[in-house]
């Protein structure tokens, strides 16, 4: 059945094409249901492939199917090939699963929008690109998907393109991603020149068997890391993600929480043997980048008032956790966190979308409050999401975060552990703040109609079932998702512990082995510490915002994102722009001037030469005569005559 792996991207492709041609005719809600059906079909195909792979013995769980030969140019032979192995199928499963939930939700959320079918068109294109990215058998196919998701991100962020802030945000996302893409391209060139192929199989085998030089491996890893930083919004290229909240909420949920931003994490895990073959300083660089980003973003989230911006910075922070995991060799933990984060972050975003919808497009949390009684389903699912992200057992987020902390400590980097723990506290704190400000606390909105642009008496209403069903499904998933990778505790039966790790074992040969370290011996203590951290954060949030025991400190520097974004804008607009202008001027004067000078030179020399055309026939005759004399002289001297 693994040869149906091509169906996984084929269904979204078919959906895209049909919506492209007939979207307008299908209209609302036909286009939406059609898109959802296409993505759900892709999900079923993923399940089929998963079941098949699972049935195989462990060392036969990798199957590549070549669709056609894409680039047959001499030494460079790149095929359009899809690789079905545990890692890719895991990614496909949650990508297509969560996507179908979000598409279903969008049918309700985008109700009444004039460009309804276009939205689903872009979403199908996005899922197509994402599956191609993940299923790619070589770097070039992955890059095709990589660029595709970047493009779709641009389309979708700027979906309401008549709004200037949205259009600008779309451009910012695309340009920042482009900086990362440069890294990926260079990595591809390096890989091809070192290994002779872009295929992961060849690259990873070379790395594992020691044929790849340390410097080359480092080069490839660092360049791909640059791409990952751009795509997965780490320092210093995270700036596009908060602005990307200009897009519709389902877009934020799908692209900027669950799928696209995880592409960078996926890429690093895909090449984990190369990571192991690189210099020793590479892993700490990745880990520290992730850790610092996590802390940085969490600190900013504390002071945000827009309901979506909190979640955006939270995403950046959680992505930092994933890179921290990669840097400490905890690839399985990283994937685990990718999956749990996708579930609860999508849930949180969709929930916030439900709130925004109920409050007539109001996004400022300072104008909400006490919504729990009007939006029961939204509130309860949101709370489940909150508990998951805060890291309260037994919800999904706790187990994955705990694994990451475990590996961080086992690696010996106590500093990383402390930063991660601190971030966990902050995460719990700001999420609690968000829940209280939105659903509990004081009611800051009134029933007066004018303030909300509605007619008649205003009362927040619960979302229709088409929007709440996905919320419920995701909430249930958030609860039970932890089951896929339980640590080895005495209380846990052997049959269900470490399932994800066993499943992914074959594709993560470079997984750090922590058996026998202090951390591994004292797993229970670490679990307790992690739980305490979450509870401390929640308690602090409750005390500050619900009980008002302490004054809320929200310094403007945090609200302004440590002024990082503003600094970049000023630099780019000021000295940056001047230097670019200088380069552009150089190009137009020197380079274009050189080219133009050739033309001008020809013209001038032609004009100069034309002065021998005096018009005097006798002069022409004299010159001819001179020529004859010269020729004769030459002949005679040469002895011809």
């Amino acid at each position: 059945m693994t040869d149906v792996v091509w169906l996984i991207p084929a269904f979204p492709l078919a959906g895209f094409l049909v919506l492209l041609l007939f979207g307008r005719r299908l209209g609302e809600p036909g286009a939406g249901y059609f898109g959802t059906a296409a993505i759900f079909a892709s999900f079923l195909a993923s399940v089929a492939v998963y079941v098949d792979l699972q049935g195989n013995p462990e060392d036969q769980r990798e199957s590549a199917s070549t669709l056609f030969s894409w680039v047959p140019v001499g030494a460079l032979q790149v095929d359009m090939a899809l690789l079905a192995d545990p890692l890719t199928i895991t990614m496909c499963l949650f990508i297509t699963g969560i996507s179908s939930m979000i598409l279903l939700y969008s049918v309700g959320y985008m109700h009444g929008d004039s460009e309804f079918s276009k939205f689903f068109l872009y979403l199908c294109l996005f899922v197509l690109s994402m599956t191609v990215l993940v299923l790619g058998e070589n770097l070039l196919v992955t890059f095709l998907g990589w660029e595709g998701v970047g493009t779709c991100s641009y389309f979708l962020i700027a979906f309401w393109h008549t709004r200037e802030s949205a259009a600008t945000a779309g451009k910012k996302a695309f340009v920042t991603n482009r900086v990362g893409d440069w890294g990926v391209m260079l990595a591809m060139f390096l890989c091809f020149s070192a290994v002779g192929s872009l295929s992961y199989t060849v690259l990873n085998n070379n790395a594992e068997s020691g044929l790849l030089a340390e410097s080359t491996a480092t080069g490839i890893v660092m360049l791909l890391f640059v791409g990952a930083i751009g795509k997965s919004a780490q320092l210093p290229l995270y700036i596009w993600l908060p602005d990307a909240m200009e897009g519709p909420t389902p877009v934020s949920a799908l692209i900027h929480a669950a799928t696209m931003v995880t592409a960078g994490v996926f890429l690093m895990i895909r090449i984990n043997p190369v990571l192991a073959a690189s210099y020793d300083w590479v892993n700490p660089v990745i880990a520290w980048t992730g850790a610092i980003t996590a802390l940085f973003a969490a600190s900013i989230a504390v002071a945000q008032n827009d309901i979506k911006k909190v979640l955006a910075y939270s995403t950046v922070s959680q992505l930092g956790y994933m890179f921290l995991a990669i840097g400490t060799g905890a690839y399985v933990a990283a994937i685990f966190h990718v999956i749990t984060h996708a579930v609860f972050k999508a849930l949180l975003f969709l929930g916030s979308g439900s709130v925004i919808h109920a409050m007539n497009d109001e996004q400022d949390m300072r104008k909400m409050g006490k919504l729990a009684k009007y939006l029961p389903i939204t509130a309860s699912t949101f709370i489940i999401g909150w508990l998951a992200i805060a890291g309260v057992p037994p919800f999904g987020g706790f187990w994955s975060k705990d694994e990451i902390l475990l590996f961080a400590l086992a690696d010996g980097a106590v500093g990383l552990y402390i930063i991660a723990l601190l971030t966990a506290v902050l995460t719990a704190f700001y999420m609690t703040r968000q829940v209280i400000m939105t659903f509990y606390g004081e009611q800051k909105w009134t029933s007066k109609a004018e303030e909300h642009g509605a007619h008649g008496d205003f009362k927040p209403h619960e979302s229709p079932p088409i929007m709440t069903i996905p919320l419920i499904v995701l909430a249930v998933s958030a609860v039970i998702i932890g089951l896929i990778q339980l640590p080895s505790l005495a209380a846990v039966p052997d049959s269900i512990e470490h399932r994800l790790e066993d499943w992914l074992h074959v594709v993560t040969p470079a997984e750090a082995d922590i058996a026998g370290s202090w951390a591994d011996e004292h797993v229970v203590i670490l679990i307790v510490i992690a739980t305490l951290a979450a509870l401390v954060g929640i308690a602090a949030g409750w005390l500050v915002y619900q009980r008002k025991r302490f004054k809320a400190i929200e310094p403007t520097i945090l609200a302004g994102g440590w002024y990082y974004d503003r600094t970049i804008t000023n630099f780019m607009g000021g000295p940056g722009r001047e230097s670019f202008q200088a380069v552009s001027d150089f190009d137009s004067t020197v380079v274009d001037g050189a080219v133009g000078a050739v033309g001008v030179g020809v013209e001038r020399s032609g004009k100069g030469l034309s002065r021998i055309q005096t018009g005097y026939v006798r002069q022409y005759a004299a010159v001819i005569g001179l020529g004859v004399v010269a020729l004769l002289a030459w002949f005679i001297i040469r002895g011809v005559l």
Partner: protein
Amino acid sequence: MSDATFLEYLVFFSAAVMIIAGAIAVIAMRHPVHSALGLILTLFGVAVQFVAMEAHFLAAVQVIVYAGAIVVLFLFVLMLLGVDEATDLSIEPIKIQRPMAAVVSLGLVALVAAAVIRTRDALLINPGAGIDVASENGDHDANIRQLSESLFSDYVFAFQLTSVLLIVAVVGTVLLTRKWPRDKAGS
């Protein structure tokens, strides 16, 4: 060949003087008609040289065609156009022309002379059959017979083409010099 007799030297040098004098007259006389007369002198000198070299037919043709027809044509045109005033020879708009002309002419003379002198004793690569001379067997038509044999056997094709050439030249000239009837828009 035996040494030349005194008469032959005399003939040669007289004719040579005629030629050179006529040539200098052509280029140096202010009045164009004087130049034409100098041309006639040169043509006669060349005809004499032809006779000395036993090319009798050519000498005749030279006198009849060149001196008789071509120079007359020149004089006709001179009179027709009225360009017969004396011109000032010292005017020369192109400054460098005279030095260049001197270089060209002297160079040509020197080089050709050098070539001639160098090949003076060269072996003949492909000597021809020899030129029939009238006085050998009292055959006065020897030259013209040999010439016509060559003309009508080896070069008959070129001969036909020259007849075409002459017709073309005549027709062309008539067209060139014809005064076209002026139409209202001007010619």
